[in-house]
């Protein structure tokens, strides 16, 4: 667990907080859509996976019945949009019995103080 909150390159980065799991609702997709559009507009974007949002990163997801695409293909496009800073709450992984080895992308974990510091350090953020 590394607290790299202070080293974020720009305090003006837009922080998108993702708190919902994939498939069950459109929140995750809609939050990622905002992140991708902001990045396409040239804004620096960071993602924080908190609460059930950590499930978005679970390795091994697939499309659902009736053409439900899921959000894992979107997440694999993040790098193409230069969204490379992915923060994950370590406590929320712990609460769900998961570790970073269960996740599909490299992330930086934060302890609760790190989560609070990240929220406090970003003037612009949206929760989905």
């Amino acid at each position: 667990m590394t607290d790299t909150t202070q080293s974020a390159s720009s305090s003006e980065a837009l922080l998108i907080v993702l708190r919902h799991p994939p498939h069950g609702s459109s929140w995750l997709r809609e939050g990622i859509d905002v992140a991708l559009v902001a990045a396409a507009f040239g804004r620096e974007v960071e993602l924080l996976f908190q609460g059930d949002g950590v499930f978005a990163l679970l390795e091994g997801q697939a499309a659902g019945a009736l053409d439900q695409k899921g959000t894992h293909p979107q997440l694999k496009m993040l790098e193409m949009y230069d969204i490379e800073r992915l923060w994950v709450s370590q406590r929320d992984l712990d609460r769900r019995g998961l570790t970073v080895d269960d996740l599909m992308l490299p992330v930086t974990t934060l302890d609760p103080d790190g989560v609070a510091a990240l929220h406090a350090a970003r003037p612009l953020s949206l929760i989905f």
């Binding site: 799991p21 498939h23 069950g24 059930d52 679970l58 697939a62 659902g64 609460r95």
Partner: protein, 97 residues
């Protein structure tokens, strides 16, 4: 005898407590949609003693979420056909939300 259905994660909601209060002998709990996350062995929410041996997870929903290989061994994996079969066996169903 009641078939209980739950669609929310155990971490996001207080429903699990109410569901367990209402769970009677001979009932069955099927985890569907985001309820599937309660099938993870490390997940909070389900008091094993109450529902032990009477809990299943919907295959398609678990699979799309990357959960299929992670389901706790005490939980049955049920496909859509099995979901319908459960509603045949249980005259009443309750969806908690």
């Amino acid at each position: 005898m009641t078939l209980h259905l739950i669609i929310r994660t155990p971490h996001s909601s207080g429903i699990f407590a109410d569901l367990l209060d209402a769970f009677a002998d001979g009932d069955y709990l099927l985890l569907i949609e985001d309820g599937c996350y309660a099938a993870l062995p490390g997940a909070a929410g389900l008091d094993d003693a109450v529902v032990a041996g009477r809990i299943g997870v919907l295959r398609e929903d678990a699979e799309s979420r990357g959960l299929l290989a992670r389901v706790a061994p005490s939980i049955e994996i049920v496909d859509m056909d099995g979901f319908v079969a459960l509603t045949e066996r249980f005259p009443k169903s309750l969806s908690w939300f």
